[in-house]
Symmetry: C2
Subunit: 331 residues, 2 copies
């Protein structure tokens, strides 16, 4: 029997309950892992509350896509993995099919990466989602180059911080956007060239000022909603505004016509584009591992909760006070 | 004295009046041309009515960006042009600065192309705007390749028809979208592989059917408004929906979140991106001239009006019954 988080109805953090379940044997193409640490992501809170891009197909439902641990059993037809190896999962599957909020879990082998040397279990649950998201959008899709300027909203989130590191590593200039001054110092410490406090400053004007009126080549936006019109105003001709989240919860207009039809690209992006394509994932994982070796990438862990406190961990995520990743340890 | 169209207030076609004006000498970087034919574009109707992306700066105002004619006088510092040469202007300037609805006009030399052999005055006023618009979006920005499928709305407009020819020339498959069945035969004759009649058929379902569920790699849309959500649903992963016009007159939503965050590019585009960049314009003009020589490109002229009937020409454009370009002859 293994402790597994499930929920029997949509709702707030309290719908999550810890249950003893039989985990079973991995089927073809699957692995069973003993989970050591779990990365907590907004996608789980959205799935749990029924507001994710994918609906819950049936109850009771599982949760979680990002975990680090050790291979326990290898299913038929799986190559490249053996029991005892340290691994991490990446978000490449539906939470309707698999969930890693548990002490042990079955996962598809296509969603499992070997954990690089020197990456412990907690870091191994905090590194992939953020860096794969940032790399996939900015480097793989966006073609970010040295000399570009990149604006990042929700900059103190784990993906925002990974974005800052990724931009800096490319020889480009990261400009962090954060709501209040509370996290400004930390963002500068993490490598932001400039920090714009959106409650106190006019974001588009500041972005244009900071680029000598040119605008930024990329915006990496987790907020969406009506604010995209202002952000779009500060995009350089031919630049791209990536929308990878919708934290605002408000409808998003298409700003191109209001702005006089600039050469503006609006691009939705999720990490699934990177993790579900084996060749993209291979390249992205190599990029992240190399960044970790070089010290350019260093996952920022905000707080660690035990699995028994998963409800508290989700409440903490909802508070918006964290800087970096919330991790839950199991076992 | 030269007959010139001006308007003294914003409004419908009737605000345009023909006036005798002194045209003067070209300044540095300018040419004076004797106008033989004028291409009529929606941009002029929008500018005239005060709904263009650029406002009228002062009255009386001039109109028109696309004309063919003969060089009469060459301003200081201009190279590559001599009196008597057959030329066409392309939309690369503001109607606040220059207007070609006239018998003679001063224009910036940077917006003037030599007319290829075999292109008469009427064709020379009908060829550039459509093909430069389609080429710039689909080839230069979109990187259209053989085997792509491309959906085109407002397909019987001059730009839509040039788009069909451009898609076919690339070895890609053009799917024309038109409101009623009236223009279907003509669109097939012009090279559309399929025609979808949007008043009678569900456009996204048909596009998905026609691509075996894959979706189209590019949409070339002049309509915008709420319809973009349906069009976006039929875009293949990583594909691009170009928005180059807003014929619907309605607000355009950003469809990415409603559609579950597909790998969707939304891209505003105007021909100015192509015509205001000398290297892009050089490449685009060569592409169009080569297409004309090969017979792959053939501008479709709907009707020709004399300059004295410019008001009727604009009424005809507003009727939406035309197929291809409306041209006005001068002199």
């Amino acid at each position: 029997m293994t402790k597994t988080v499930r929920f029997h109805e949509l709702g707030g953090p309290e719908v999550m309950v810890l249950e003893d379940l039989e985990v079973g044997e991995p089927g073809p193409g699957e692995l069973r892992i003993r989970v050591e640490a779990i990365g907590v992501n907004r996608a789980e809170a959205l799935f749990r509350s029924g507001t994710y891009i994918e609906e819950v197909r049936s109850f009771p439902a599982k949760l979680g896509t990002e975990a680090s641990g050790v291979v326990e059993a290898v299913g038929p037809g799986v190559t490249g993995f053996a029991p005892g190896q340290a691994v991490s999962t990446v978000p490449a599957f539906s939470q309707n099919d698999y969930g890693v909020y548990a002490e042990r879990a079955i996962v598809p082998a296509a969603a499992v990466l070997h954990r690089p040397d020197g990456v412990d279990a907690v870091s191994g649950a905090a590194v992939w989602m953020p860096y794969l998201t940032a790399y996939g959008a900015l480097v793989e899709v966006g073609g970010m180059r040295a000399g570009d300027t990149v604006a990042l909203t929700a900059a103190s989130s784990s993906v925002g911080l990974a974005g800052i590191h990724t931009v800096a590593r490319a020889g480009a200039t990261p400009i962090a956007i954060t709501r209040t001054a509370a996290k400004k110092e930390q963002l500068l410490k993490e490598g932001a060239a400039e920090v714009i406090v959106s409650d106190e400053e006019d974001v588009p004007s500041r972005l244009l000022d900071l680029t000598g009126g040119r605008g930024v080549e990329h915006v990496f936006d987790a907020v969406a909603g009506p604010g995209v019109t202002g952000l779009a105003r500060a995009v350089a001709p031919g630049g791209t505004l990536f929308l990878y989240g919708a934290l605002s919860g408000q409808p998003t207009p298409y700003p191109g016509f209001d702005l006089g039809m600039p050469a503006l690209n609006l691009r939705t992006y999720t990490v699934l584009e990177t993790t579900r394509d084996p060749e993209r994932l291979r390249r992205a994982a190599a990029y992240v591992a190399s960044g970790l070796r070089a010290g350019a990438f260093r996952p920022v862990v905000d707080r660690v909760f035990p699995l028994e406190e998963i409800v508290r961990a989700h409440h903490h995520m909802a508070s918006g006070t964290q800087i970096g990743k919330i991790v839950v340890t199991a076992g």
